[in-house]
């Protein structure tokens, strides 16, 4: 157990007495009460828990909170203040979600992709997104939404 200081969505937080091996996912959900980041598998197989650590997509279910000490986490709640990130808007335009449970992880992973590659090809999208499972099967709409966002400058 240790005191942890980190930044979440731009806000610096210090938590006393946290298990250092606790995955970021459960820290966000159970300690901070931020439920936008989802649990899907617990072993980096499905991507539902994807957040950004210093701007890079990580699987928060297998990344211990100790790895975030002094670093900055961005979750779906912090991707934009009002849902105006180009990917969020594209997700609405392409009417991607069915149940919606995996979509926060999909969007966070896609945001990381666009920040590295502003104009990805179909192949690059598939390669980057294939770690994110959607049991409702919205993959083709996800691909379409990423392209819409890319056209509108989604890397911003």
């Amino acid at each position: 157990m240790a005191e942890i200081t980190l930044t979440i969505n731009g806000k610096t937080i210090t938590s006393p007495n946290v298990a250092e091996d606790m995955p970021i996912l459960w820290y966000l959900r159970d300690i901070e009460g931020m439920t936008g980041t989802k649990f899907g598998c617990g072993m980096a197989q499905c991507g539902a828990c994807t957040v950004h650590l210093d701007g890079n997509a990580i699987r928060s279910c297998v990344t211990p909170i100790s790895a975030a000490k002094g670093k900055s986490i961005t979750t779906i709640e912090g991707l934009s203040e009002d849902g105006s990130h180009p990917l969020q808007e594209a997700w609405i335009e392409a009417k991607v979600p069915q149940c919606g449970y995996c979509q926060a992880g999909q969007i966070m992973n896609a945001a990381s992709l666009l920040s590295r590659n502003a104009n990805p090809s179909d192949k690059e999208i598939t390669s980057a997104m294939t770690g994110n499972i959607c049991r409702c099967g919205t993959y083709n709409r996800i691909k379409k939404a990423i392209k819409i966002a890319a056209e509108k400058g989604g890397s911003q």
Partner: protein, 753 residues
């Protein structure tokens, strides 16, 4: 299992009876809709439905419309589609409509069992009448105000217009006066004509879309109450086993672990509502609960299913499928046909157990205080859960409240109340509110699995290659066996899913089922027994077409024969027809023919493709919806499978929300591809060998078809479901396409390409 609507009346509600919600203005019109429901006998006894109201519409003096969604939302769009029907008939501005999720309450809402692709089918007319009743009251209130005849007043876009003078009053202005009027008689209602629809048949965006993309939508796993402690359960690896002894001392040493609670085993069969038993670990947070559970030492008595082995069981099913079984449908003389045949084609098809694995695993929050239990859960069937919780806890149903959250996928898993009961029992035993979470391993290893199955079909031909005999044997462990220890053969409900109602015009037909022991929890999963039946029949039709030297589409159309309502007199028992009377929803071969012709045309069936490429086809009716599917594959690069196109032609009657229908079919194709290409649950010594997505594989983006096209028939027939019908035809169409491309006839799922 399902209930059907018999009649419905609209009445004004006492506002105290209305759903608790501070956001609803308490003036204006409140309408309740009574829907009379009757249960049909089925293999699974559910709590009886009763004559009670089930949909509510409120309009306040500000003009805000509140519509209660009483069915569970799991991605099928029901929180949008049903309210949109009410709003259309009401003449409301959709932007002024707010949706309120109903709690589980049979007395108020009637049937809330969200399963079997029947929400829109069952509630389309009641929703329209609810909206039309309120509309007429508003029009009458305006007529009274203007002292004109009501026939001159028309509700359009949230106001009532007096057509001759152009005078207008808004819904809000009229709400007070309208609420004083009696609810009109049903005979006075004027339902809109099709051309007048403003929302029905037009795309409507999901009401939860904006919340979802911002991470604000609340699923079961997100629901909590401040005092609830996170709970994980260690369950016996074999269904029906129990704890022999355990040592929790190391678990209790884990920082954050509060206590453990032992739960009794239900024995076997387990029933659908019983938790599996085991040791619950209650902790301050999920991570502590998980570490505590890992530290538990438990010795199990594996019970009666410890010898369940998939390989042995497959052999047993193959034997049963090659032996005479119980005849469930007989027309003509199959023995004579087989004996006199010029040629008999004979094939065996198999599918493995599957797990639902919704992205959100089962979970529930439960609080037990002063003899009352309150629950927050992602359940498809709150009423079954209420009855089950009350029974297990020894309290009355009125003392159980279930708040229904959004579901992160359901696919039939969350119909079963076991996980809700598990949470409630732990809260009672531990005497503290708890939040139960199933890890993915719990979900994969303790599911209610889709049946594994072996199907055997013989097709007999005369010398002109006409099909003169059809002998189909279906063998799989029945869902009923999870509840009934003596059930060993497929139930009426299961064989009514495409087995006994084969639509092809063949003079001699014999359809049989064989025995298979139930040795794990079997449950219904999206499309249920249609999956094995469509795979076998759709594949065999392709083999028949090949033998006859005919194109698969032409062969199917020819074998379908003249348009007719299917004669089901050869069936030895009542044909289930998804719990609808055949006179209301006949089996219309003409509708199947139409979707076949449509898909052939839209997919450019028979187009010239290069080497290593091919198209495959299957047509199928399930849940009263007619679907034809063409899959195109490309295996020209080293035999690696790619799927450039999938086409569906769909007749689901009047479409309510084309967005949703298309999304269900696109997603249904992917869901089906998981089963067709990737997924299998296997057992060794009674234990599931898979545990998470690294070894229980499901379709990912790389497995998705390049394009999925959904062609909707312009139909005015009664609306029927779209949640399940996309799935059954995909696997056989794919297998047929692989044969066309590679010459490899694959008869076992998942297909080993």
């Amino acid at each position: 299992m399902k209930t059907k609507t018999e009649n419905q009346t609209v009445r004004k509600m006492d506002r105290r009876y209305f759903i608790k919600s501070s956001s609803i203005g308490m003036s204006g019109i409140v309408l309740g809709m009574h829907i009379a429901c009757s249960s049909r006998p089925d293999e699974i006894a559910l709590p009886p439905a009763s004559f009670e109201p089930n949909v509510y519409l409120t309009l306040n003096e500000k003009g805000d419309v509140f519509i209660v969604a009483h069915r569970s939302e799991m991605g099928q769009g029901v929180r949008t589609s049903l309210p949109s029907i009410v709003a259309d008939e009401l003449g409301a501005d959709w932007e002024r409509v707010q949706i309120i999720q109903a709690e589980g309450n049979e007395e108020k809402y009637g049937n809330q069992n969200t399963d079997g692709s029947f929400s829109v089918r069952m509630f389309y007319m009641p929703m329209r009448k609810a909206g039309a009743s309120a509309r007429l009251m508003l029009e009458q209130a305006a007529a009274n105000e203007w002292k004109v005849d009501v026939s001159e007043c028309k509700a359009i876009n949230h106001e009532v217009v007096h057509e001759p003078s152009g005078k207008k009053l808004s819904f809000g202005q009229l709400a007070g006066k309208a609420s004083e009027l009696p609810v009109p008689d049903e005979k006075d209602l004027r339902l809109k004509k099709r051309a007048e629809f403003t929302r029905i048949g037009k795309p409507t965006t999901l009401v939860d879309l904006k919340d979802i993309v911002q991470g604000k939508a609340t699923y079961g796993l997100d629901a909590t109450i401040p005092e609830a402690k996170v709970t994980l359960v260690k369950r016996c690896p074999v269904a029906g086993g129990k704890v022999r002894s355990f040592d929790n001392s190391k678990a209790l040493e884990v920082p954050g672990v509060i206590k453990t609670v032992q739960l009794d085993s239900p024995g076997f069969p387990t029933q659908f509502h019983n938790p599996l038993g085991g040791i619950a670990v209650i902790a301050e947070n999920t991570w502590a609960a998980k570490k505590g559970r890992d530290a538990l030492e438990v010795e199990w008595d594996f019970g009666p299913n410890a010898k369940y082995n998939t390989a042995d069981f497959a052999n047993t099913m193959v034997k049963a499928a090659n032996t005479n079984g119980t005849v469930r449908h007989e027309t003509g003389d199959i023995k004579g046909a087989l004996a006199s045949a010029d040629k008999v084609l004979e094939s065996t098809y198999s599918i493995p157990h599957l797990s639902h694995t919704p992205m959100e695993p089962p979970n529930a929050v439960a609080k037990f205080e002063n003899g009352k239990c309150e629950i927050w859960a992602p359940t498809q069937n709150p009423q079954w859960a209420i009855g089950s919780v009350a029974g297990k806890l020894g309290i009355e149903e009125k003392d159980v409240t279930i708040n229904v959250t959004l579901l992160g996928g359901g696919f039939g898993r969350k119909s079963k109340p076991d996980f809700v009961v598990e949470a409630a029992l732990i809260a009672q035993k531990a005497d503290m509110p708890i939040k139960l979470i199933w890890m993915r391993e719990d979900d994969v290893q303790h599911d209610f699995y889709a049946s594994s199955s072996v199907q055997h079909i013989k097709a007999a031909f005369d010398e002109d290659k006409n099909v003169i005999g059809w002998n189909h044997r279906s063998v799989f462990p029945t869902i009923s066996g999870t509840a009934n220890p003596t059930a060993q053969e497929p139930s009426n409900g299961e064989i009514s899913q495409g087995l006994i109602d084969v639509p092809y015009k063949i003079p001699n037909v014999c359809i049989e089922t064989g025995k298979a022991d139930v040795q794990t929890r079997i449950g219904w999963m999206r499309s249920v027994a249609n999956v094995q039946h469509a795979f076998a029949i759709g594949s065999m039709l392709d083999e028949i077409a090949e033998y006859r030297g005919k194109d698969a589409v032409k062969n199917a159309l020819e074998m379908l024969g003249k348009d007719r309502m299917l004669d089901l007199s050869g069936i030895k028992e009542i044909y289930g027809n998804y719990n609808e009377p055949l006179e209301d929803y006949p089996w219309n071969t003409g509708r199947l023919k139409s979707v076949i012709e449509e898909v052939a045309s839209k997919s450019n069936w028979g187009k010239s493709l290069g080497a290593g490429k091919g198209q495959g086809f299957t047509a199928y009716r399930s849940f009263l919806t007619y679907v034809a599917c063409v899959v195109e594959v490309d295996m020209s690069e080293d035999g690696k499978l790619k799927i450039p196109e999938v086409h569906f032609a769909v007749d689901c009657g009047q479409v309510v929300n084309p967005d949703t229908v298309k999304n269900q079919f696109e997603g249904g194709a992917i869901f089906a591809l998981s089963g067709a290409l990737k997924s299998a649950i296997t057992f060794k010594d009674g234990q599931v060998e898979q545990s998470n997505f690294h070894n229980y594989h499901v379709a990912r983006m790389a497995d998705a078809p390049q394009d999925i096209y959904v062609h909707l028939m312009d139909s005015e027939e009664k609306p029927t479901g779209v949640g399940e019908p996309p799935v059954p035809p995909v696997a056989p169409a794919l297998a047929n396409a692989i044969y066309a491309a590679s010459g490899k006839r694959l008869r076992d799922l998942p297909l080993k390409v």
